[in-house]
Symmetry: C2
Subunit: 322 residues, 2 copies
Amino acid sequence: MNTFASYLAGELPKIETCLHDHVATLNPYVKPMAEHVLQAGGKRLRPVLTLLCARALGYSGGDPYPLACSLEVLHSATLLHDDVLDGSELRRGRPAAHTLFGVGQSILAGDALLALANVMIASYNVPPLMVCLSQAILNTASGEVQEIARVRDVTMDMQGYLDIITGKTACLIQSACEAGALLAGASPELVKAAADFGMNIGIAFQLVDDALDYSSPKEVSGKPKGADIREGKLTLPLIFYLESLDDAGRERFTKAFKENTLQESELESTLVAINAGGFVERTRDMAASYIQDAGRCLAAFPTTPETSLLYAALEGMAKRDK
Amino acid sequence: MNTFASYLAGELPKIETCLHDHVATLNPYVKPMAEHVLQAGGKRLRPVLTLLCARALGYSGGDPYPLACSLEVLHSATLLHDDVLDGSELRRGRPAAHTLFGVGQSILAGDALLALANVMIASYNVPPLMVCLSQAILNTASGEVQEIARVRDVTMDMQGYLDIITGKTACLIQSACEAGALLAGASPELVKAAADFGMNIGIAFQLVDDALDYSSPKEVSGKPKGADIREGKLTLPLIFYLESLDDAGRERFTKAFKENTLQESELESTLVAINAGGFVERTRDMAASYIQDAGRCLAAFPTTPETSLLYAALEGMAKRDK
């Protein structure tokens, strides 16, 4: 276990307690859905990044946990809505909330969690925190709308893909880091460094996710290989693969992909080709380069134990296999 | 046209421009849904209440429209989600957004509008405003969850009904008024008076809506009479009606209502009985009593033209027929 992993393990009980205490304040009709999605676990990456950025930049004020946990509450709200709109039956190996409580209840519980996160953030009386997090939610929703709008859109290129993952994933992770810096009352330069750090790891995080979708066996990841291609999502390994085909091959594949007429055997052979062609590796290489950029952002941070832990977090992220 | 109606007519162009300008900042993938729901019209009651409360309490600072319009943006976000969860085909006589753009897009556009409203509010740098509005969203979502949970629940009494309408409708109108007072920098007593005024008219507003559902002909209201009873919603006219039945009659009706086996002819005769029994009128009488209470809250306000306009708003509300 690297130093970041032990730090996270030490923080987890406090994060869980804070989440639990805030969910306990919800209306009894909303609480069961909120508990269901929050108790499904998750890496709690966002709260721990907020804590580390705040502490690395000298925060020693009051309780930082409600702010840190507000990020996880926001994230959970988006998960409730995502599962409804993807029609996903499972979330982290457990039944998705909408399959147990109904679609309407899940949409509304997501709204309630968005609002709860705002209440948690507002309690700090720091207006830039509100702007930072509200903008993050706006970008997350916009990125997801864009992703849906471009399902099976075979004209998607690297830039279109990066726009989507920046919106749907990286902005919230960026805000987690920026919020920590804002809470610490850091200088504008350091707030920007923290935000850039978060943006880079956010993009890297999604690139690794999208690489794992093509490479990680079900026993490790908990979901079948190739879910994205089946759902019509053009992520980077597939974009690289399409670029590698000759014109005739690309035309044949994109026509079938667009019309959703790919046979199971073609899907399987495409998965094999994407792995064999090194496109998963190229995606992970790109993630590694964003992780390096994230490391460079930390150069502006003071030398503190928490700054070292943020470097350690980068290491773990590069090696992630689930 | 009473003085409130002319004031509203004068403010409408500025409200519409402000709404338009903020929606224009949205990601191009989100904008069409946001424009669709906001251009469907609506009374713009919430923004005008914010403006009037702020001005009645002496606000003469910068531009109050983004704050006022944030309330309409929040309201529109809830409409997008409501239509998805009710499966409504129409909204104010036009196709509901999800029928044109898809369910997923509508859920996410609702999230984006919730976030846009937060960005608009955060721009004022007044932390209590964020708490006030975040709490309102939380209560709105909780009220709606409660309403869904209690569909066809024949044990619903007056208190359960009041809890639901307070959450789903009145809290946001309360916050519209409270936000105006907070913007004006009013004393805690006047902030409370504004909030109480909003709570009372919010409850009255929903009571009138629920009365109109039983009494207003389709040509006036734009929707068929008795939509609530068909959807299994127990609102006050029906609660009064159930109380008026003898034990055997109540048992027969509630069994069929609970199991959703009421025939069209029984529904029709129930609508007639509810109107003939004076239960619509009793609901409107109750609204009138909340409107009186709202008037009493205004006694604490200074004598200003805007305070007179708030009294005029109460008059219009009591007479509303659509």
